[in-house]
Amino acid sequence: MSKEALYIDGLTVSFGAFRAINNLSMIVKFGEIRGIIGPNGAGKTTLLDVLTGKTRPRSGRVLLDGALDLLALSEAEITLSGVGRKFQKPSIFEALTVAENLGLALRSRQRSIWGEMVYTPDEGDRAHIQDVLGMIGMKGRGDLSAGKLSHGQKQWLEIGMLLIQRPKVLLLDEPVAGMTDEETERTVTLIRALRSPERAILVIEHDMAFVQEVADLVSVLHEGRMLLEGPMERVRADPAVIEVYLGR
């Protein structure tokens, strides 16, 4: 394992003539929780789209764990190589139960169609699901229909679905949007607990206070470019950042 979980170099994404991301470079290390902030339209979600294979960049390089070229992989391959993404809107499968949602995310050894048909979770799988249920605060609620969960619970379940996959890189797009203060507080605790030397976490968020609480370092994106990178206190005091945020 290298020290660099994500190595992004000279990334440019265009939609027609418009550059959503413009020559962006950054490095995220294992063990780190990185906050990414920036006004609406700064290109934050687009960055995650590139990292997960949903959008193809015009140019640039993205390496996972110092070696794996993510830009050459399909969406599914990227996930299997250890990049998990939480979407901006909660995207869980509402017609399934909480445990079934987690079970779907579980990587089983057999991947053939037949294997999936006859698959039954073994001892280890069940224990893993129980662990994650505990982590996201839903112990004993595995049989609940996911559609009946509160907004906050849905977001946690989605994070749980990522955790099940033991990702090396965890991408969280606005995880506390629409949450109550209490839910936000619990999410802070959850994300902090997810920090691990084998994992890097990227958190995109508008809520400065939230980012300050969870992130070690903050990158500020503006019009597709990296405006500034550093600890939150410094970023908050920076005139250019204030300008960008107040200028909205």
């Binding site: 996930t79 995207s91 509402e94 169609i113 999936e116 048909m117």
Partner: protein
């Protein structure tokens, strides 16, 4: 226009709908096995008229069609408006087998040979007098066609109403092709004049009973297989595809193969239904490929209730029996009754007749409360 199609797409995919009741389907499958035995006994002992026994057998094949469609529509949210194609593949191949057998037995060439002035059957009838070979072809061709069609359309990520339109177009094109007289499939008039099936006279009460029982058994087997699928992780994946396919891809699944697998299984079930249907009606013609039949399958499933298997099966049994009864007594009324039923279900019971008990309870509760206040 696109926006309208998109919203229809969401609607027909039935997002957020039910996806349970796999257990109920397994129980129903068990009951059908018993029913099949009862039909076999009643039919061979003359306890039931051959007409009724035959009708039960036909209706059972419609039930299979509905199960096949529910697997991909009710669970995976992929609406086929062309499942008649796979039904016809099974139907035509068994008809080819029966025609070849009749020709070899009686020496009388089938009508279409005389009509075209041919002195032998086309080369693709070679070996078809052999039943296991015909059966293998039915599975391989229906599965193969479904695989190719699925591969092409799912790979280019065609979905929703666009996909439905393509399936409908395909069955329509096939119908035009089969209406031609020079294809060796009987053209306009179709194929008939069957004599024996596996050595049994086709019109004997014993054969009728055996075919009917086989159809009910096949329906039970289809229900069982599909119930096992929907309760497995594969089934959860199908529901996940219906709810949010790209999300499932981000979890690391190649949804293409999951969709193709369900599509092929569904097509093979439909083909076997066709194979059982044709010997029971004694004829096949291109009208099985008409868009109306394929749409009717979707109507059965919608009326019975999507995503439950049991509902789809019940819908098919109910509506097709009703159709047989009503087209005999009041044929001109049938289209109106069917339309009314569809509207009734769409407006009052979006999840089909299986919702009726719950809806009724809700209504009674509401009346009770109103009376109390």
């Amino acid at each position: 226009m696109t926006a309208i199609l998109e919203s229809i797409s969401r609607e027909i995919q039935g997002k957020g709908g039910p996806a349970r009741r796999g257990l109920a389907a397994e129980r129903l499958a068990g009951m059908l096995v018993v029913a099949a035995l009862a039909i076999l006994v009643a039919g061979t002992q003359g306890l039931m008229s051959p007409y009724v026994v035959n009708l039960i057998g036909q209706v059972a094949t419609f039930g299979m069609l509905a199960i096949a469609l529910d697997l991909i529509w009710g669970y995976a949210g992929i609406l086929s408006l062309g499942h008649g194609l796979y039904f016809a593949i099974g139907g035509y191949l068994i008809a080819m087998h029966l025609v070849k057998v009749a020709y070899l037995q009686t020496g009388t060439p089938p009508d279409f040979m005389l009509f075209m002035g041919w002195d032998s059957l086309p080369f693709y009838y070679a070996g078809l007098e052999n039943f296991p070979y015909a059966l293998a072809l039915i599975v391989l061709i229906s599965g193969g066609v479904a695989f190719l069609f699925g591969l092409i359309s799912f790979r280019s990520r065609v979905s929703g109403v666009y996909f439905s339109i393509i399936t409908q177009a395909l069955v329509f094109v096939a119908m035009l092709l089969f209406f031609r007289n020079d294809t060796g499939f009987g053209g306009n008039n179709g194929m008939t004049g069957f004599t024996t099936l596996l050595g049994w006279p086709i019109a004997a009460p014993e054969t009728i009973a055996a075919l009917s029982a086989a159809s009910v058994l096949a329906a039970a087997a289809s229900l069982y297989v599909c119930a096992r699928i929907v309760r497995s992780r594969l089934g959860h994946m199908l529901v996940a595809i219906r709810e949010d396919e790209s999300r499932l891809r981000f979890l690391g699944f190649e949804t293409l193969w999951i969709k193709i697998a369900a599509w092929v299984i569904s097509a093979v079930i439909a083909a076997i239904a066709g194979m059982l249907y044709v010997p029971q009606v004694g004829i096949i013609n291109p009208r099985v490929l008409s868009p109306e039949l394929s749409i009717e399958i979707a109507v059965w499933v919608a009326i019975g209730g999507r995503g439950t298997l049991v509902g789809a099966f019940a819908g098919a049994i109910l509506i097709s029996t009703l159709k047989v009864v009503l087209t005999a007594s009041a044929p001109e009324l049938w289209p109106f009754i069917l339309s009314l039923l569809v509207i009734f279900v769409v407006v009052l019971l979006p999840n089909g007749l299986l919702d009726a008990p719950a809806a009724l309870r809700g209504w009674l509760e509401w009346r009770r409360q109103r009376a109390a206040s």
